[in-house]
Symmetry: C2
Subunit: 241 residues, 2 copies
DNA sequence: CCAAAAGTGTTCTCGGTACACCCATGT
DNA sequence: ACATGGGTGTACCGAGAACACTTTTGG
């Protein structure tokens, strides 16, 4: 039996013993590149995609589980990760998708399996430096890749809705806490870069002067040396304190 | 067997079949009276109190369950109720409290029961007109009553923490959405009443003039006739649109 | 008529807005 | 030198803060 089939079989047979029942986690992982906000998605079939998610070990906290699931997909630790909403409608069951996926891959299933039950899912959103993240698919999916948040493929279940809520929450947090936007950028960044990030997320142009003044007055960034070897006047580099 | 013992026995034996596993709901029910923010608490033993909470039926949405649990305790429907956080630490199990409570009441239990497992709890907060609410204890508790949020008795588990987070979230929402404070007042209320409510929640004095102007400019309240038969200049009554 | 509460107005300050101007660098 | 992007300054406006003043009621 191929390795991925073994892993899938193990999930079906061992999962009930290992994980909390009826609860799952969905991670909306945001990245930022070329003036566009991206979301990390997993490809289940030719046409269907889903959010990276998973289950909670019986002796694992929610936050720890969300971090583990995040690390499994992008190989990074200590990432900005925040719980934002719980999705608890009654129709939240993967039953159909799981059955067809597992059948397609030659792994026997049946409707009574724990994994076909209704799941309440806790949504977390993460902010990562897209250059450091290394997207890794798992045994159950074909691909793991970044997608512009404005042009998403068809997603399973209510995952389109989950991303929408995550983005709304991220926008609010970006307004409320000055430093969190920088989690989407490299350690060192320039004000114009941060400025473009904000303009992208809020989808509107913002005054350069005021933006710079507000960010510097907030006191959460420290100015480093000037960036060198760049066209035009060289900007300062900053780092979150 | 007395009725409350029957109900408790039924919960233990039937609960696993009826409810989602490992998930519960805790409701922080806020009321407001005599210049003080109150929380509804249930008394489990002579010295221990807890938040009203409960479990989710297998074919019931989270929001529906939270509303049902709320209605069971205060006999009111269509109440402002908002999910605010999920509490998912690994030590969240009522095991000890449940065992001693049930033993005390002469209902046999054992540690393997579903109810002794670890529970992830979704926190909701509610805003109610304290004059309309009729606190009703259930079969499992001695009392159900309002407590000033600043002087809480010892609570089970992390319920003190849950109330703290609920209050923080309520404060944020009160700042962000103009009308929600009025859910704590009767249908018709005066601006000075609303003003005192805000001063209580934020625990600081706020300028009368500016408060009134801001509230009226927000356009979410409609002015009714003047209140009569009251000492001093009679204030206008308002209603949320 | 007076005390107290309710309603409204005045002034000042501060932060947001729009825009202009200067600086630095690679072509 | 100049086009381009980066950094900072100025004048204006509106909302928030502190406080004053007027209005209404019961005693």
């Amino acid at each position: 039996m191929p390795q991925h089939q073994q892993a899938m079989h193990a999930l079906l047979t061992e999962g009930e013993r290992l994980f909390l029942s009826n609860i799952s986690i969905d991670n909306v992982i945001f990245g930022y590149a070329s003036n566009s906000l991206k979301v990390l998605l997993l490809q289940v079939t030719d046409t269907q995609w889903m959010l990276p998610g998973g289950y909670i070990f019986k002796n694992e906290s929610l936050d720890a589980a969300a971090n583990r699931i995040l690390e499994e997909r992008i190989a990074l630790r200590d990432i900005f990760l925040r719980q934002f909403h719980v999705f608890g409608e009654t129709d939240r069951s993967f039953s159909n998708e799981i059955t067809s996926l597992f059948n397609e891959l030659g792994v026997p299933t049946n409707p009574d399996l724990w994994i076909n039950q209704r799941f309440v899912s806790v949504g977390y959103y993460a902010l990562v430096d897209i250059n450091k993240a290394q997207p890794r698919p798992n045994q159950f999916v074909k691909a793991c890749s970044w997608h512009p948040v404005e042009e998403l493929p068809p997603l399973l279940l209510d995952h389109n809705e989950i991303i929408k809520v995550a983005k709304e929450r991220f926008r609010k947090d970006l307004n409320a806490y000055d430093a969190i936007g920088s989690h989407l950028l490299p350690d060192k960044f320039t004000m114009p870069e941060l400025h473009r990030l904000y303009e992208t997320v809020f989808d509107k142009s913002m005054d350069r002067s005021r933006f710079q003044k507000k960010m510097l007055d907030s006191g959460v960034f420290e100015r480093l040396h000037k960036k060198k070897g760049v066209a035009h006047r060289s900007p300062y580099l900053y780092r979150a304190k």
